[in-house]
Amino acid sequence: MSDNTAIKLVNISKSFGSVKANYKINLEVRKGEILSLLGENGSGKTTLMNMISGIYFPDEGSIYVDGQEVCIRSPRDAFDLGIGMIHQHFKLVDVLTAAQNIVLGLKGKAVLDEKSIENKIADLCAKYGFELEPHKKIYDMSVSEKQTVEIVKMLYRGANILILDEPTAVLTPQEADRLFEVLRNMRNDGKAIIIITHKLNEVLSVSDRVSILRKGENVGTIDTANATEMTLTEMMVGKKVELDIARPEPKGDIKRVEVKNLTCLNKYGYKALDDVSFDVWGGEILGIAGVAGSGQKELLEAIAGLQPVQEGSIVYFDPEKDNQPSQLVGKTPREIKELGVHLSFVPEDRLGMGLVGSMGMSDNMMLRSYRQGKSAFTDRRSPKALAEDIKERLEVVTPGISTPVRKLSGGNVQKVLVGREIAAAPTVLMTAYAVRGLDINTSYTIYHLLNEQKEKGVAVVFVGEDLDVLLGLADRILVLCDGQVTGIVDARNTTKEAIGLMMTKQNNEITEKGGEAEHE
């Protein structure tokens, strides 16, 4: 073990129930380096880091800080060892000010000396170029301001080992660049920095070394200088990515949904969608790309009637009624359903929105259809049959159809959800991050199901994060950036780079070019 090692993990394992989140992981971070922890969603990155920062306690294994074995039982222990973690979901108290959050939990004089605290914060801000109003309440802050508070909080505590969990997921490109600048400064100060990410360009641009996790195991650590996107991707997914997704030719030429000038506000009152217009055609898969939080969620929810619309229109053309148009804006999900719109929706939050975790498969089958019929009683027979059918066809691994779906693994949960939505014989099928956290086999099952729907003439909207998948599966790709459409392109004739550019809005011309690629 070299003197330069800041923290070293040996054979760390952690399980949640039957799920092995981490298995015998070894990891080493040196002083004065930025280490990227790369892995797909659900590969165990956050769990591992939570053990270093004292949130979880490892089932097995040991941790060495500065060469000495340590036991981190709580975040307090982690701080004392100079470890600070910036969680993806910020750990801030909303009703307190920035300064109060920064000094929270610290030892010191019983009475808070606000002046000296503010001075120290100001010093830190000046040193690294942050902008921070110490008196501002957290609930008044934007996401990037909150992140600044979190980073300053760690620096204030004198953290030498800094862990950032997907720090750029919620940032604009400019904000991300500023963050990287700060991280480089801190590295030059001799701090050890770990960033959790699944974005390859970040890994390559900011880190010195990269460790790759796959399914809870560390599959290797390499110097970034020797890494390419290809090698990293290979390590991340286990084999060379030959995304061999079938893509039948779109055959439909009927406009199914027309979205025009759609504007929505998010829960903080900012524009989540800004003047969005596009069409979805029957018999095609429309991919939607964009950095997380660019308005994908709001877009799908607006169509489903779950998100209040500020302006604009969403028109559905009903194939059963001779493509007669009907307006969806201003209607509740129930009213949309009663209109005869066969809209299926696989939301991002599977157990928090799409399914009821404490209910079994059978009861979950009823979720979208229980209202059918005039009887006050629920029909229990057909959901049961449907559940058995889905269990059979999609090979859902479950002890029984009445086992709470919460107890199933992620892939099986998704099979239940997608199975139910497809069983509703939709004319429009919307999916958000349908393969997130799923293994390759399950992912392919899902792709196959979507293609099947497409061939039946269903208009499929596929919100994805993996560009390779979008390029391989979708017919057209709509790119969202900051709530605006920055391009709609033909997926067969575009490149990853072009889409990447649109996602970061770095080329406005692409917007116009993309416009030409509209469905003819």
Binding site: G17, S18, F57, E60, S62, V65, Q68, E69, V70, C71, I72, R73, R76, D77, D80, L81, K107, A304, G305, L306, T332, P333, R334, I336, K337, F345, P347, D349, G352, M353, G354, L355, V356, G357, S358, M359, D363, M366, L367, R368, Y370, R371, A376, F377, T378, R380, K407
Partner: protein, 392 residues
Amino acid sequence: MSKDTTNTKALQPKQPLLHIVRRADLAWWKSWLFRIGAFVISCIVCLIIINSVTGAGASDVWKALVKSFIGSSTSVGEAIKTIQFWAVIRETLLLLGIALALVPAFKMRFWNIGARGQFFAGALTTAIVMKFLTPYMSTGMLFVTMIVGSVLAGALWGVIPAIFKAKWNTNETLFTLMMNYIMVQIVAYCSIIWAAREGAPGMGVINKLGSEFYMKGWFATDIMSGVFSDKNDMIMVFIVVALAAFMWVYMNRTKRGYEISVVGESENTARYAGINVKSVIIRTMLLSGAICGLIGFMMVSGYAHTVSVDTEGMRGFTAIIVTWLGKFKVGYMALVSLLLSLLSAGTSQLATSIGLKETLADVLVGIVLFFIIGSEFFVNYKIKFRRKEGTK
């Protein structure tokens, strides 16, 4: 300085002695083993307390418990026997009835701790109807009016906090708690004005008409005597059993019950499923309040024949505990109600011998509850004792 000391503490490679993890699953019989174990321990604690206070040994306590349930078989005879028996049953029914009312609300994660107020709303309405409408109505009509009135009053009292919860997310725990005491004061007010005007001795008795009123208030005994051998309490059994059956069907077999479960699990899922969360909240609290009101009616018209601030006897709060410990399942709730009533009656019996009546019962019931409440932890979590593995 202080940093250094904590630093060395954290540096020690010693693992924490205990570590708590959530259980993935536990066989049903094991979870019951924990609960029964807790109950047994609590009984031993109670025995020790009883022994130190009264000097009674375990066998005396057992005898008293038996006596409280089936009455004394030696001395006073059949009459006492039945009174004792029915007193326990009645208590069980009242507790179970209110607990049933709370099920839909709790299942929706709406913390209705306002059963006390909703019960009183029904009880008071029943008493008012009894008092003022008796001369103008046939028994049947009176009966219907009382039921309708008490159900409406209970529903009203329950729905007020629900409306605010649905529209403005007003904290329902605090709101329903306050509604209890507003209603208690209303009852206090009514029981004074009406008792005083009749010149009745003491406060809070509206039972001006005595036994005649008693008969008119409930099913007239002459009609029912053939069927139920003069036991009014038997009707209570029917009401509560019907209520239990209704609640089971409502929660497990109807669309509305399904909606309640979904809303309780996740409002987001409910919205996704096209459920109007606000109307479910309001509708469910109407039901919850209405049943509380109905139990209030049952208490006043079937048993108390009066209303005062003591009529409710904190059953609204005890029922919350019953619902929670019974895990919203009708059978378990009935068991817990019976247990509490029995315990209460038994210890009262014991304490009477030393002249301390209900108060000791409250203490012992409290202790048993603490143990059962605490035992849930061992059902849901697992304590892992850690040992340092010999790595070197």
